[in-house]
Amino acid sequence: MWEYSDKVMEHFLHPKNVGVVENPDGEAIVGSLACGDALRLTFKVDEQGRIVDARFKTFGCASAIAAASALTEMIKGMSVDEAAKLTNQDIADFLGGLPKEKIHCSVMGREALEKAIANYRGIPTAGVEEKIICECFGVTENEIERVVRENDLKTVEEVTNYTKAGGGCGGCHEAIEEIIARVRAEARPEKARPQLTNLQKIRKIEETIEREIRPQLQQDGGDLELIDVVGNKVLVATRGACAVCQMAHLTLKDFVQAKLRELVWPELEVEEVAK
């Protein structure tokens, strides 16, 4: 059984604002019977641009009904501009949270609101030319990009919880992964690393050896000493057990070099020198 908050159950059992506003200023329907949930949202706007009435009709589970009820309660009294800023997270928060598999219910609310506002403003909603990624639930590339960006999503599973995309046959999982990777790469452009001076490099390497590397090596009776730094080349000498160990070469590349690349600078090359 789902762990619904009291607020979700309250809005499900006693939904507010059920119905259709007569002669609505904005209206939209999202979802479909095939998908298992659908929401029709209608609202009325006064001369000051304030939403004076909002009503919904929902086909769907308890949280879909609750999210729609919450949405209408939230936007009543808001200006259209204020309403346009609502996110799915705001709806989920209003309800005291939603189970993660049900977040798509709040996303559906936000989508309906957005479409209804576009309808009110007379902006034609983008339609046919949008690229569908998930055929099972008809989810577009734009929708997926948007939830990934707004909610900092990292996995296909999360995208499925938010949009249902990928929850059917699973054929689009690769495409979703690509979108996640792309959006996340855009969101975090690689910061240009400050160039380290040789002295800074040496200090940082010494620090890293001391803190991260030496304790590990010493467990096996080995040790390591920094000899010099030349450009990207980090010259080291092995000591103790490492000096006679057949595996020392692997340890240097797989462990020492990997650690230093991670913590100091990524292009460095560790090389062993005699003595």
């Binding site: 059920v18 329907i29 298992g36 659908a38 086909f59 589970c61 009904i65 499925t160 249902k164």
Partner: protein, 395 residues
């Protein structure tokens, strides 16, 4: 608020007779049946009796019964045993509507390199025996078809299927978890090689099951360990539960007639009343070849989880094949295999009764259910005043 429990295909109440028989074996009679002393030996004797009781319910020999921890273990044991004793054969046949204990195992075996044929069903959830016969090849290690479907109650002709399999030299297993105790089963009159049953579906506790293995069937154990169950299933016996399962089987044999008269009468009354009082409703699955206790009904343009939570407020417990109840986003694989349209599949409810349900309870459900469906349809954008505004608004 009293509970009206109509979810007996999910699990059942432990019968008071069963509980009573079990209790001493948790405390005073805690001996290990394998022990040499009288204290363990008396428990061993009681387990022998339980084995006889289980065997009697399906007219099998006691040595054909292996106790397990659940239906899933019994199913896995049967399939794995067939594969282990037929090493050259790397094909199995199942149906699309099997319980996950078989269905998910099939998917897993595909990853292990086996070939798995999933037989389709028709819109009433029925299998085609000719198609079944054609699917069996010299490569087939085992065919496994459920006796009765857990979601719809539809009964497969497993005895005919087993005869076909035997003719072709293919082992036949049946997941009879939902059938045992609800319909008569006589293992002396069929060619089924292995059969899985589960305690908690017939008023024994959870955590106990059994696998019937016909004498002479080559067998490879799933759990390797001690000599328990004659080396066919290692692990110290769950003594109290095995004894409970024995009593539950005896009880089921005694209640078999009531199950097929009283329970069936209540189920039919409930089903017919809901179909009459609620427009745009239908029964999913073959209504003739069906368990006497199960009804799978769909209500168009409403969603199953919402129905369940609404009836839950009245103390009524049931299940749904809707997507939202599972978290899988897709309606039940059984309803999809039957080609049930989305408008009906999302609004499906499974009502499953037991001998403990009363007519009063059923009358209460008949009174309340239509109101709830009407209330939810009042919220639905696909439902007009009184009749369906068809899915024209679909985006």
């Amino acid at each position: 608020m009293t509970t009206i429990y109509l979810d007996n295909n999910a699990t059942t109440q432990v019968a008071s007779e069963v509980l009573e028989a079990m209790l001493p074996y948790f405390y005073e009679l805690y001996g290990n049946p394998s022990s040499m002393h009288f204290f363990g030996g008396q428990v061993g004797r009681k387990i022998r009796q339980a084995r006889e009781q289980v065997a009697a319910l399906i007219n099998a020999e006691p040595d054909e019964i292996i106790f397990t921890s659940c239906g899933t273990e019994s199913d896995n044991t049967a399939i794995r045993s067939a594969l282990a004793t037929n090493l050259g054969k790397r094909h199995i046949v199942i149906s699309r509507v099997e319980h996950p204990a078989i269905h998910a195992l099939g998917a897993h075996l595909v990853k292990e390199g086996y070939r798995v044929t999933e037989l389709p069903v028709d819109s009433d959830g029925r299998i085609n025996l000719d198609q079944f016969a054609r699917s069996l090849t010299s490569e087939t290690a085992i065919a496994s078809l459920m006796w009765a479907n857990n979601e719809t109650g539809v009964i497969f002709p497993v005895e005919e299927a087993a005869a076909i399999a035997r003719n072709k030299g293919v082992l036949f297993h049946t997941d009879a978890v939902q059938a045992v105790g609800k319909i008569p089963i006589d293992m002396k009159k069929n060619a089924i090689d292995m059969l899985a049953l589960s305690g908690h579906k017939l008023h024994a506790p959870k955590g106990v099951g059994a696998l019937y293995v016909r004498r002479g069937t080559r067998f490879s154990p799933f759990l390797i360990g001690g000599h328990q169950e004659k080396g066919r299933r290692g692990g110290t016996e769950n003594t109290a539960s095995l004894i409970g399962l024995g009593v539950a089987c005896e009880l089921a044999a005694r209640n078999m007639e009531k199950e097929n008269t009283h329970v069936k009468y209540l189920r039919d009354k409930l089903e017919n009343a809901l179909l009459t009082r609620i427009p745009n409703s239908r029964v999913n699955g073959d209504r003739v070849n069906r368990l006497p206790n199960t009804s799978n009904i769909s209500f168009e343009f409403v969603e199953g989880e919402a129905i369940l939570l609404m009836i839950n407020e009245l103390g009524i417990c049931a299940s749904s094949g809707s997507a939202c109840t599972s978290g899988s986003l897709q309606p039940s694989h059984v309803l999809r295999a039957m080609g049930v349209s989305f408008t009906f599949a999302h609004g499906s409810i499974r009502l499953s009764l037991s001998v403990y349900n009363t007519e009063q309870e059923i009358d209460f459900v008949i009174e309340k259910f239509p109101v709830i469906i009407e209330r939810l349809r009042g919220l639905s954008p696909y439902w007009g005043v009184g009749d369906a505004v068809c899915a024209t608004m679909e985006t």
